[in-house]
């Protein structure tokens, strides 16, 4: 995992803190993480 990816994951973790038992929000968290990492990679290319 690169430093930038770690920053994105940490930021998303902070945002979703407290919702660990909400399955829908956890699914949205995965979607957002994947989207933001892909976006970061595209911007870096």
């Amino acid at each position: 995992m690169t430093e930038k990816e770690k920053e994105i994951r940490d930021s998303i973790e902070r945002r979703f803190k407290g919702h660990e038992n909400d399955e829908i929000l956890m699914a949205l968290k995965e979607i957002a993480t994947s989207h933001l990492i892909n976006q970061m990679r595209k911007n870096d290319e």
């Binding site: 998303i12 945002r15 829908i24 929000l25 949205l28 979607i31 957002a32």
Partner: protein
């Protein structure tokens, strides 16, 4: 609001100076628009005395958001092509930005990020609605764009106290509306309701401004308000702008069920949201 909350709200209103009102020209224009027997000519006449508003309406009508191949150069044509509701919405947005600009020049909210969040919420709620075949796209967009109007009015007209709210929200890592209740005794939703009533905003818009954190309270407007509720959560997750705090509010599962949503649907529409966001940028004035 219960009695204690109502008292706290009255106290808050008493501390606000120069309470914003919509200019009389807008009231006159909205009266024309709300009269089913009025004509495009009457609207053009009502707008004739407000050249900057006319110019702004035409600029938006001709923006990429609407994407008409030919230039629309008169209000009469704009009303005929886009309809009264759309023109009414454009006028409301334009004038609300003017009211906000008349408040404090000092901001605690980062306005650029705030309006990016608001625009993102409008576009996301609209895109979800279109995907599900629910709600009127234009009205949902406006409801999302203005859902946090109470925050920006508090920041503009009760600036010093709102600065404390933002600091508490950051220090205690709590949602802005929780910090507002702690410090001010009322939230941006409470103030938004008061403004929406005072400005005689459409009922669906009032519901979204008042209940976007708990759409199950919004009665007949539960679908529109639920779209804004989910839109708000998704733009926060995707880090589109910033509405003043960095947290995800609780999801109302009842309203998620009413919409019949699934996470995969939201994942699939992200590219559409991004494309609409670019086109909708014209709604935010450069000096907002």
């Amino acid at each position: 609001m219960n009695k204690t909350a109502a008292d706290a709200f009255d106290d808050l209103m008493g501390r606000m100076e120069d309470l914003p009102s919509l200019p009389s020209t807008v009231v006159a224009i909205l009266n024309v628009l709300n009269n089913p027997e009025s004509s495009a000519t009457e609207l053009s006449e009502a707008l004739r005395h407000d050249q900057s508003l006319t110019a702004r309406v035409l600029r938006l009508v001709n923006s990429a958001y609407y994407g008409f191949p030919r230039k629309i150069d008169t209000l009469r044509k704009a009303v005929t092509i886009l309809g009264y509701t759309t023109i009414q919405n454009i006028i409301l947005v334009t004038k609300i930005f003017e009211v906000i600009r008349s408040g404090s020049k000092e901001h605690s909210l980062n306005r650029k990020l705030f309006w990016r969040h608001a625009l993102g919420c409008g576009v996301t709620a609209q895109t979800i609605g279109l995907k599900l075949g629910m709600g009127d796209g234009e009205e949902i967009f406006l409801a999302g764009l203005l859902h946090d109007i109470g925050k920006v009015i508090l920041d503009a007209f009760l600036h010093e106290e709102y600065e404390k709210v933002i600091k508490v929200s950051q220090k205690d890592n709590i949602l802005l509306f929780e910090a507002e209740k702690q410090i001010l005794g009322a939230s941006h939703e409470d103030l938004g309701y008061w403004l929406a009533e005072e400005w005689n905003l459409p009922l669906n818009l009032t519901a979204a401004i008042t209940h976007h954190h708990d759409p199950s309270q919004s009665g007949d407007f539960v679908v529109a308000t639920s779209l804004v509720h989910v839109g708000d959560i998704l733009v926060r997750a995707l880090e589109i702008g910033n509405g003043g705090d960095d947290l995800i509010p609780p999801l109302n599962h009842k309203c998620w069920g009413i919409l019949g949503l699934r996470p995969k649907i939201l994942e699939d529409i992200i590219p559409d949201i991004e494309a609409r966001l670019v086109r909708a940028q014209a709604f935010i004035p450069d000096d907002a």
